[in-house]
Amino acid sequence: DAGVTQSPTHLIKTRGQQVTLRCSPISGHKSVSWYQQVLGQGPQFIFQYYEKEERGRGNFPDRFSARQFPNYSSELNVNALLLGDSALYLCASSLRESNQPQHFGDGTRLSIL
C-alpha cells in the first residue's frame, strides 16, 4: 500500500517567489495536516484539513494557505517567500479528524536563496 506521497522532494526558490507543495494521503484517509520542520527542531503544525474544510491552523502568517481536493489530496501554498521559510515541509494523513496517529510523508525540502 502506498504511504503518504509528497512532491516535489526538493525545491529551490528565491525571496519573494511563490511555491506550491503537493500531498497525496494514504488511500482512505480523509484528514491531511501540514507541518514545517526547521533544522534542529521538531515539526510545527501549520494546517489541518478534513473533508475539504480547514479544521485547524497553527501560528503561521497569512502568506501560508492550503486547500484539500475532493480526492483528499492537498496543496500548501506559500507566497512572498522569505529566507526563514527554508525548511522541510511535511504532510501527514490520518483516517479520521482527531485523536488518530498521523502518518507522515518524506517531506519537501524547500530552500530559499
Binding site: 510545527q44 503544525f45 482527531s98 510523508g105
Partner: protein, 112 residues
C-alpha cells in the same frame, strides 16, 4: 514557550543495552502522547502512543511510561539495536485532537 520538551539533544548507547529517551510537558490537560522515529531524508514514523488513563504501554521492544504528576514520559527501547539509530520525537495532541505538538527531538546513536 515550549509545551513539550526533550532536554537531551543526543544519546549514545551500546547495542543490546537499554535506551531511555525522556520528554516533559507543561500542560496537564494533554491526555494523549505519541513517539515518532525519524531517519534522515524520511518523514517521521509513528512508534507507540499512550493515553493518560494508562501509565504504561508496551509494544515489542518499545515501552512508553507516563508519569502524570511529574508531567513526564519516557520511551524505553530494550534491547537497543544499531537500526534504532535515529531522531526520536515525543508529541502530544491538542484538546481537539487534531494538532500535534512536538518536542525538539533526541538523536539516538546505538553503537555495535
Amino acid at each position: 514557550d515550549q509545551q513539550v520538551k526533550q532536554n537531551s539533544p543526543s544519546l549514545s548507547v551500546q547495542e543490546g543495552r537499554i535506551s531511555i529517551l525522556n520528554c516533559d510537558y507543561t500542560n496537564s490537560m494533554f491526555d494523549y502522547f505519541l513517539w515518532y522515529k525519524k531517519y534522515p531524508a524520511e518523514g517521521p514514523t509513528f512508534l507507540i502512543s499512550i493515553s493518560s488513563i494508562k501509565d504504561k504501554n508496551e509494544d515489542g521492544r518499545f515501552t512508553v511510561f507516563l508519569n502524570k504528576s511529574a508531567k513526564h514520559l519516557s520511551l524505553h527501547i530494550v534491547p537497543s539495536q544499531p537500526g534504532d539509530s535515529a531522531v526520536y520525537f515525543c508529541a502530544t495532541h491538542n484538546n481537539a485532537g487534531n494538532m500535534l505538538t512536538f518536542g525538539g527531538g533526541t538523536r539516538l546513536m546505538v553503537k555495535p
